[in-house]
Structures are given as C-alpha cells and as structure tokens.
Symmetry: C2
Amino acid sequence: MRLALDAMGGDHAPGPIVAGAVRAVAAQPDLHVTLVGDREQIEAAVTAAGGHLGDRLSLFHCTQVVTMDDSPVDGIRKKPDNSISRTWQLLAEKKVDAIVSAGNTGAMVAGGLRLRRFLKGVRRPGIATVMPTLRGPCVIIDVGANVAPKSRDLFAYGVMGSIFAKHILGREHPSVGLMNVGTEDSKGNELARETHALFNGSTLKERFIGNIEGRDIHRGACDVVITEGFLGNVILKVCEGVFDFVMKLVAHEVLAALSVEKQIAHKAIADLIHKHDYAAYGGAPLLGIDGICIICHGSSGERAITNALNVAAQYARTGLNDKIVEVLEGVPTTGDED
Amino acid sequence: MRLALDAMGGDHAPGPIVAGAVRAVAAQPDLHVTLVGDREQIEAAVTAAGGHLGDRLSLFHCTQVVTMDDSPVDGIRKKPDNSISRTWQLLAEKKVDAIVSAGNTGAMVAGGLRLRRFLKGVRRPGIATVMPTLRGPCVIIDVGANVAPKSRDLFAYGVMGSIFAKHILGREHPSVGLMNVGTEDSKGNELARETHALFNGSTLKERFIGNIEGRDIHRGACDVVITEGFLGNVILKVCEGVFDFVMKLVAHEVLAALSVEKQIAHKAIADLIHKHDYAAYGGAPLLGIDGICIICHGSSGERAITNALNVAAQYARTGLNDKIVEVLEGVPTTGDED
C-alpha cells in the first residue's frame, strides 16, 4: 500500500508527523510512505524518531508550506511548491493510493477541488467524520468541504456515508438521517426540503429515516448523519467544545466530592478523555475523491498520524471508492452540473 | 407584575404547568398570573396543586390547543381559539406585561410574528438562550425563531444579546462573537461576511470579537454568540445531546471504577445533571417583541415553569425593551424592510 504524507502539515509539524510515519511503517510491513516536504527538516525528524529513509519510507522534497493562517485558495495559488499540492500531485499521478495531511483543512480541500479528480457522479466531495453515540459510532458528512451544497450533493453524501457505515463501521443496513430543526417532513429551509424529497424518491428510501434534530446524533438515532458543510463544521466543533467543557466540570465537581478514591476516579476520567481525544481519531476522509484522502486535526500528534496512515491503507484495501461509484451510477443526474 | 401563562402548552400540560404558577404566586407577592386554557382542566389542576383561583391567579378560558405535532402556522390558523394565540392577545392588549409558554415553539413564534408587535428597529425577533461556559454563562441568539435572517437581523441580535448580557447576566462590557466555520474575517458564507462587515462598521465594533468557531462557545470566548436560527437551533440541541451522552458515559465508566465511594460520586454526577437540566432553565426569551415573551422547553416541569415566571417578571422589571429600543434607534436602517 503506497501512501503520501504531508510532513509539513500540523500544529507541531514535522516532528510528530514524521514520527507517526516512522512508527506506522515499522508496524505494518506492506506500508510504503512518501514524506512530502522540506528535505532537511524531514531527514532530521526521521533520525530523531529513530527511523531511516529507505524503500518503505521515502522523501519527496518541496520548498513551501501553506500555513494554518494562510487563506486556503490563495495559499495554494501563491505557493506552487507547497507540500499539500505536491501530496495531491502524487495521488493524481497514481504514484500513491492514499494521502494524509494534518495541515490547513481548507487548503487540503481546495487542493483536491483544483485537481477535480472526483468519482463519477460526484459534483463536490465531502468530509466524513466518525462520532461516538450511545449506540456506537456514526458517520457525519459533510463537516466542512462544501458550504454551498445542492440537494444532489447531500444525496451523494448519503450514498457515500452509507457505504462508509457499512464497510468501515460494519453496519449491514445503515440508516440515514438529515440534520434539520425538527423531525416533520416540512421542516427547515428549501435545501432541507429538497433533499428530503430526493431521498424519499430514491433507492435509499428504505434506509432514510427522515429529518433528525441536533440531540439525535449522540442518541444514535441513525448510522449516517447528512448535513451541509457549514452546519456540519459547527456541529463537529460544538461537540468538541461541549465534551471538553463537561469533562472539566466532571473532573472538578466529582473529584472534589471524593476522598479515598479520588485517584481511581481521576484515572477513569483521564481514560475517558483519552478514548475520546479528537486528535487521536484516525482523521476524516474526504469522500468523493478518486483516491483516498484523509484529513487530520491540526493538533494531531504521533499516535494520530499513525492511526490515520493505517486507516488510509484500510480504506484503500476495502475498495470503498469502487463501491461508491457503483451505487452512484444507478442514480439519475439532475442536470445541474457545474 | 402581570403575567399570562399558556396553561395548555408543554408535554405534560396542564398539571405541572399550573402547579408551577401556583408555586410562583405563592412565593412572590407582586405576581399576578393569568392561566390561559380550558377552564375545567385548569380548575382541576389548580386544586390538585393545592392552590386556588383568585386575585393573583386568574383564568382566561379558551377551547383549543396547538399540539406539538401541529404545523405552527397551520395550527394557529385552523384553531383560532387556541391557548397560544389567546396568550399573545393578552400581551397585545396590554393586559399583561409578559407571557410564558412551554407549548409548540414554532407556534409561539408564529403567534408573535402574526401580531407584528415588534420593537422599533426590529425586523424579526430572535430567541435567546443562556448557555453555561467555562467562564460563566453566555447568551446565544437566535436559536430558532428566524431561519432566513438578513445581516441586519443578526446585527439586531447582537444589540439585543448585549443588552441581555449586561442587564441579566451582569456583564459590564459584553463581548460579541459571530458563529462561523473559522475565525478569519473572510470565512463562511455571504451572510456571515456581510454581518461581519456590519458589526465592524457599527457602534458595537469595540465589543465585536469577530468570528468564532463551534468549540469557542463553551470555552467562554464571548458573552454573546450571534447565529442564524437554523444553525442556532441545531447547536442548542447538539449541546443537549452531547451533555446527555457524556454524563451517561461518565456515570457508566467512572462509577464502574469505584467501590467504596460509588454513592458519593453518583450523587455528585446527579447534582451536575440537575444543575444543567435544560428543562430547569428559566426558558428562553423571544427578544425584539414589544413585551416580554418566554418560551420554555416542551418537557418543562413545575420547577421550570416557576423559574420562567420569575424570569419573565425580572425582565419586565428591568425594562430590557426600553434599553434595546434606545440602542437600535441609533442604528441606521438599510432600507430592506419587509
């Protein structure tokens, strides 16, 4: 499995990013990772992580970096030799099967949009992310790639999310819900009503449970949550914020009440936080791309990058994209291509 | 202080709704509450709650109820003698200073929109709600009254939210943030960019901290969070869902780790849940109305209703609306009235 990793992307790049790759190739004998970025910095980071460049850990040198503060589109345009664009280039040239970056998310999406190597039937890719619920993980798509979607984009997210839920989360018959302000069919804005009608008239009808509300996500009301990217991005970050807030509250108030078992409770709370650490997840796939692209949290450390590389390899092996294309081919297009 | 309460609104109405009013008038000698709804049911509920109808607890009989399942606009139109419309009527006729309902939120908003008794300078009212953060409570507006706002509506929400934060939450110089997908000025959709520019060119400029992200709410990044109603409604319900999810997780995993202090931890967790019980909050004001209107959670019990009546009286006493009008009068209108 051939992967390319944007070694310069991430709040603490390249150190922990490169270390994550060193660890991943050491653990998985069929993994080949190309580190994309500044030669000198990467070589130093590989050495520091106790690895060495060779057959399965190679380097693709480039001179520029799109930073977190750069405007995504401008950053990519004004810095032609940036590590994000070079990583995408390796995917476009089929030199790798999958790419991973913890850099500027907007630039990562913009890099993909620029190449326009989308799956057949996909107008705009969407970022999927896995969320814990009371009934096990669900997938929410899109969380920020497409802030001006059409109903057929949301429908395609339903198709992609279902395939993801089936083959990655192991749900035999994934249920799909549309994020809205109420459960009644007529609720919400025009986009919501159009999308609702599109699902109900489609092959996904049986799996479509209709509109869901914000509180339904964590109840585990469905396996796939469909939302437009602006809303999805806010939801994702609100969840992160509330989780952090509640755990701080719990740590403060519950620990204060205890005396002899304070340490035990402290450890249980720390374990919970660790288990739900957003930076430890395997990253979020940008679905709809011809190839596998995983976008990681900016704060990703070594463990998160190792996970993301493993997840990218798993997606590539599963043949997710072939399955998406197969289903989308059966869906009539509505003629609003652009 | 004269209040009207929709006695028929709420998942368990009229029992706990009426009981909340009985308790409120017993505790506050200057409170007069008119219970709006079916005479027979209300009389029985008053008796059951150990109260009696008289000077300070009166009844306004009406025969219909807009249920939670009714479409808000249709419900109000097809049931002219419904308790929500009658409650609004008492406010419009200046027979009461404030109204409270735990009924169908959409119908409550629709009832207000129908009367069009808005404050000068307000095109559409917005629902404000108080949220806990690591730095004390903040106010988020709008959480569902207006799903198609213009930038000047969002600006008015900034004005109203600031006055609320100052006079109700006690923040001398409240800071205002605009919910967006990133903090850079250019982020988001057209509405976000327009609103951002409007704030920066206004008298609120000094208090405007710019765009905020989902995770900033619970960090306490600002005192007033501005958002359009669709997004705000989803945010509110997502917070509810995540809180519930995390507390269940904590109750399960932390308690499982303990032995001798299990009961103590259980009580601390229950206290935390109780403290953050959404149904116990004093309800959410619909700001921008000429008069005070408090909308409560459908699941509101006796305590929540008592709180809401007290809060409604407090808002009326504070003269919130006069202060809002005063500030909005200084804002030039942009000519897009409708």
